[in-house]
């Protein structure tokens, strides 16, 4: 059975399909209910952030970073300021690094919670997203007084962070860690051990390590295929080497494996937050000579990568010393993770395409940039 055969059916999944979470279109060629080929069509949310970088100063570009991936803006904040700091050799005060770790990990949890709720929703269970959003709301309430916004944070600055945190917020953060730890067993009982859910995920979309390497998959997608690759360990940045935490992996490589990795990451992020809040030192939240809005990046090229909620976020920056960057390339993890979907979905049932898409944790604005 091939494409173009009289017995195949071509259907459009998207661009407004509820399980694509954003504006993603997939052209599916079906033989009965089986997928013969799947071709993602992207670009509906393309905003050309890379061009915008060429008409803004480095600091004016910060708000763009909050908008590339609306679920994990702090990961992108971090990649951008990290690139500037590496290029210009800017030192970051100790306290600022701790604030970055605390907020960055809170953001990872909130991102995973949205994925968790939406994924289960795609598979037909409505209740978990209500629980997940209740917990996410608590994180937004923590990040709001710190960063001033609830969704598209532009909170990091080259040389530190925009605001200091108060002791009251830190105490609330510890309370949240305690609260969240009590919620996780409930998620396990409600969803992870649920037989209907497991039947939709186990053995579905088995991703081999070779395919991960060919397509450049990173993050939980790669770790779900049993490769312990995490930028926080491999290319240590900030102060992640000071904390005690595990990198969860799963040897199955199926949708359930990717699910388990993300759920385990919630626990690990809570561990990091707790240690960071307990160890946070006093001092400045931003270096005294931090770049001003009209600051010019020095001449040179730099690559900086961080571990975002969806994988490896990379910023490649080239500056010729002018007021605007000469060229900025944004490496988005979702782009590479989605590019393998066509090969992965082949031979699966149509309903499994939904399960595989969800297990890749796609955020379309981040893919389209």
């Amino acid at each position: 059975m091939t494409e173009g055969d009289e017995q195949t059916l071509i259907i459009n999944m998207g661009p407004q399909h509820p399980s694509t979470h954003g504006v993603l279109r997939i052209v599916l060629v079906l033989d009965g209910e089986y997928i013969v080929s799947a071709t993602p069509v992207i670009g509906y949310l393309h905003r050309m952030h890379e061009k915008m970088a060429e008409i803004r100063t480095c600091l004016q570009y910060m708000p763009n970073m909050g908008r590339v991936d609306y679920l994990n803006p702090l990961g992108w904040n971090w990649a951008w300021v990290g690139a500037l700091e590496r290029l210009a050799g800017i030192e970051v005060p100790e306290r600022a690094e701790f604030i970055r770790v605390i907020t960055g990990e809170l953001n990872r949890i909130s991102s995973h919670l949205v994925w968790f709720g939406a994924y289960i929703l795609d598979l037909g269970a409505f209740t978990p997203i209500m629980y997940a959003f209740e917990d996410r709301e608590k994180i937004l309430d923590l990040l709001q007084p710190i960063s001033g916004s609830r969704l598209t944070y532009s909170f990091f600055r080259p040389g530190g962070v925009a605001n200091d945190v108060t002791d009251a917020v830190l105490k609330d953060t510890l309370d949240f860690v305690k609260y969240m730890r009590e919620r996780l067993p409930m998620y396990r009982d409600l969803v992870t051990d649920n037989i209907i859910f497991r039947k939709r995920c186990e053995g579905v979309g088995v991703l081999s390590l070779e395919m991960c390497q060919k397509y450049g998959a990173t993050g939980p997608v790669l770790r779900g295929s049993n490769r312990s690759y995490d930028i926080r360990r491999t290319e240590p940045y900030s102060i992640y080497d000071r904390f005690d935490y595990e990198i969860p992996v799963d040897e199955k490589g199926d949708a359930m494996g990717r699910y388990r990795v993300r759920m385990a990451e919630l626990t690990e992020s809570l561990k990091i937050i707790e240690q960071a809040v307990n160890q946070i030192p006093g001092g400045d939240h931003i270096v005294k000579k931090a770049p001003k809005p009209r600051w010019k990046a020095p001449k040179g090229e730099v690559y900086f990568a961080v571990e975002g909620a969806r994988g490896k976020i990379g910023v490649y920056l080239i500056s010729n010393g002018d007021k605007y960057p000469y060229r900025v390339k944004l490496r988005s993890p979702g782009f590479s993770n989605l590019s393998l979907f066509g090969e992965l979905a082949k031979g699966h049932l149509l309903q499994d395409a939904v399960s595989i898409l969800g297990s890749l944790d796609l955020v379309i604005p981040e893919i389209d940039r």
């Binding site: 040179g300 730099v302 690559y303 900086f304 080239i318 060229r327 782009f335």
Partner: protein, 178 residues
């Protein structure tokens, strides 16, 4: 010091970088003919493709490939310089399937033609769009030596003179080639 995969690879300019300063360990300038060979060697060594981007300089387009190791902080950058009037470069999608989308993106933004690409359709931009948004006006183009940091040049083809001012003191820089 030179990694095993680099042995025998025909490199125009081999630059060693300080990872802490640039986030790159090796920057290799390749000719379009050796690109696929370089990619294949890195694939067999266990590197994965991070991204493919391009850059518009006064010396031509530069296709930039970033590949990274899983085990440690090790990032290799391939640079291929292409003329503005006929930017052609072989596709590496036979080695790294993930390159299919990255190459289509570079086609959208710069109009670079990847020969051997099985599906060279626009990816992010509309199908009827003919402009390439990241191409710069001629007067805004900056020479390569003011953009890329060559780091420490370990080895260089005598005809490769893009960074000649950087090490003009050595006897190698003869006024030949470009």
């Amino acid at each position: 010091m030179t990694p095993a995969w680099m042995e025998g690879l025909d490199i125009l300019c081999k630059c060693r970088h300080d990872f802490r300063k640039t986030g790159i360990t090796w920057g290799l300038f390749l000719s379009p003919d050796t690109l696929v060979d370089g990619a294949r060697r890195l694939f067999q060594t266990g590197f994965f493709l991070e991204d493919i981007s391009a850059l518009d300089s006064a010396n031509g387009f530069v296709a930039v490939y970033h590949l990274s190791a899983y085990s440690e902080a090790d990032r290799v950058a391939f640079y291929v310089i292409l003329p503005h009037n006929d930017p052609q470069i072989p596709s590496i999608s036979t080695v790294y399937s993930g390159a299919l989308w990255h190459e289509r993106e570079a086609m959208d933004f710069f109009g670079i033609h990847f020969t051997g690409h099985p599906d060279p359709k626009p990816l992010l931009l509309p199908e009827d769009m003919t402009d390439h948004p990241l191409i710069k006006e001629n007067e805004n183009r900056v020479p390569l030596k003011d953009l890329l940091d060559p780091g420490e040049i370990v080895e260089r083809d005598p005809g490769f003179l893009f960074f000649e001012e950087v090490d003009s003191s050595t006897e190698e820089s003869k006024p030949e080639g470009q």
